[in-house]
């Protein structure tokens, strides 16, 4: 049945309202304070480490992001861990919250489609994430300039921007996930708990699960090297179901220009290569393209799930 009128009318109104709500919410302030503090800690640790070990490095700024001084992980490590938390904090109650406040039917009785509401909510979250990430990035860059006394080079800025984009895609996956949970579960607490549980699975337990699965599904026969290759490939395939792993690979290739491959490399493929020589930025982007596409695809897929559930939902509050 053909329906008349744009499905997107009202979307930007909702997106801006959501963004404004987030920026004034104590929840976001709390998470952002946490992130900024950890960022400061990580960068501070990295600076000490860089001064101690690396004298001459063409990518000093990138080192700043990826170097950690035990026991403090690197800035990138922190982001991989904490970005999902920000996304979850933004979206875990976005749809069920409207039911809880009994505003859903009132908003939907305005001349908008349901599509606009869900798109707007997602977009509002993305706007907030983008603003927060850009702020954080600028903060870290500024801190780097102050402490290192060097401006970042053109290539470093390009890589930094690409990294920013990857962060956004990664956070977007979790935003869509939290949105899906907020649509499926009517209780905000349930949806928060479900999202956090999934977050724990992917950040802590995924590698263990994959390890178990691989040894069960592709046992290694010491006499047959092919089984080893199969096992490694299966492991990589399963690993990459986790957005955290994808994000890790992307940051590795983007922020460490010497990374030449994200999978198995055979000796024959290394012929003629200069170990440790940096790849140009464009080559690094080619390297991470599948991972980035994977993240975006996951985001779209999960959001579609939320969309379908939401469209079929009974509006009664």
């Amino acid at each position: 049945m053909q329906r008349r009128g744009s499905a997107l009318s009202g979307m930007m109104t909702i997106a801006f309202k959501e963004a404004a709500d987030h920026f004034s919410s104590a929840r976001l302030h709390l998470v952002m304070v946490l992130i900024i503090l950890t960022a400061l800690g990580a960068i501070y640790g990295a600076i000490g480490q860089i001064e101690a070990t690396v004298g001459q490095d063409p990518f000093l700024f990138l080192r700043l992001l990826t170097t950690g001084r035990s026991p403090v992980p690197s800035f990138v490590g922190f982001l991989g861990f904490l970005l999902p938390l920000v996304s979850i904090a933004l979206a875990f109650d976005s749809v069920n919250g409207e039911y809880g406040r009994r505003t859903m039917s009132r908003v939907l009785s305005q001349p908008i489609y349901r599509d606009a509401l869900l798109f707007g909510k997602f977009l509002g979250g993305v706007i907030v994430l983008a603003i927060c990430l850009v702020t954080l990035w600028l903060l870290v860059t500024g801190l780097g300039i102050l402490t290192l006394g060097l401006p970042p080079g053109g290539e470093e800025i390009a890589r930094g921007l690409a990294f920013l984009l990857a962060c956004l895609a990664y956070a977007g996956v979790w935003l869509a996930m939290a949105l899906l949970f907020s649509t499926v579960f009517r209780q905000a607490a349930t949806s928060a708990l479900a999202a956090l549980a999934l977050w724990l699975v992917f950040t802590l337990f995924w590698s263990m699960i994959v390890h178990g699965l691989v040894s069960a599904m592709a046992p290694i026969d010491p006499t047959d090297p092919q089984t080893l290759i199969n096992a490694v490939q299966l492991q990589a395939g399963l690993d990459r179901l986790s957005p955290n792993i994808l994000f890790g690979e992307i940051t590795q290739a983007l922020l460490d220009p010497a990374t030449r491959s994200l999978g198995l490399v055979f000796m024959s493929q290394l012929q003629g290569a200069i170990p440790g020589a940096p790849l140009p930025f464009v080559q690094s982007t080619l390297l991470i393209w599948p991972q980035l596409s994977g993240l975006v695809a996951a985001m779209v897929l999960i959001f579609t799930g939320a969309y379908v559930v939401f469209q079929r939902q009974e509006i009664r509050a």
Binding site: T103, V107, P111, I112, R316
Partner: protein, 314 residues
Amino acid sequence: MTGPVLEARGLTKRYGRATAVTGLDLAVNAGEVFGLLGPNGSGKTTTILMLLGLTEPSEGEVRVLGHNPLREPLAVKREVGYLPDAVGFYDGLTARENLRYTARLSGVPETEREERIAKALERVRLSHVADRRVKTFSRGMRQRLGLAEIVAKGCRIAILDEPTSGLDPQSTHELLELIRSFAADGMTVLLSSHLLSMVQSICDRVALFREGQVGLVGTVPDIAAKVLGGLCLIDVEADGVDLQSAIGPLEGVRKVTVGKAGTAQVDADADIRPDIASAIVKAGGSLKRIDISHSDLDDVYVRYFEGKEDRDAA
């Protein structure tokens, strides 16, 4: 405008095997205040959601100002204002900000927006708290804010779901006054309620809901006449007499229902008060009060459902 502005034909809604609304026909004319009455769970809210296009009917068709809410939901929602049962607002925003948000969503032109919102708040007498957070509002104020939203939207039809439920008498009275003033401005109002005597005071016509069906439609006196079937209800209060045996045998008495402390209600074919009075006196009782019962909607309603149960039992 001639003809009904709101029309439903053969409207049916099924949830799995349960049926919420069955073959509902409804027509509301322009400028009317129309009441949907029925107990909780009789399908009023479901019907309203279908009229708005928020829920898809399993069968049947709805026309709102000539539009089908399923095909042209935006056109319908632009003309219809909805006040849900126990309306909610964004607690962290002020009354004005809440209205601004929905006014933006409903596409009120930017140049008129602030003025319309101010006028709407004025009209529901919330101007003095316009910039206070809704968090601090009482239930009555929230309901009034909901009405302000409908005013600001400038729609031709208002659908109010249980607008007075949970309000104190003073707030109820204020709200009813507001609804009456909407109708006076030519707005068509459809409201649902289970508070019958209240609805009786403002509705032009009423549809009585029972188990997902409209039992009766008409003005309150019409419905009363239909349900009571020409019955005359008489309240009697007397001491020192068994009312049942004194009044029961009289000609024209159908039923005597004895209540507490010497009161009884008599169902009679005609006004036989003199006969009852003399029967009581003859039986040696002292008559304290005898009255024609006000056959208000509450009575009609109770009797209507009584009748249904009797038939079920038979």
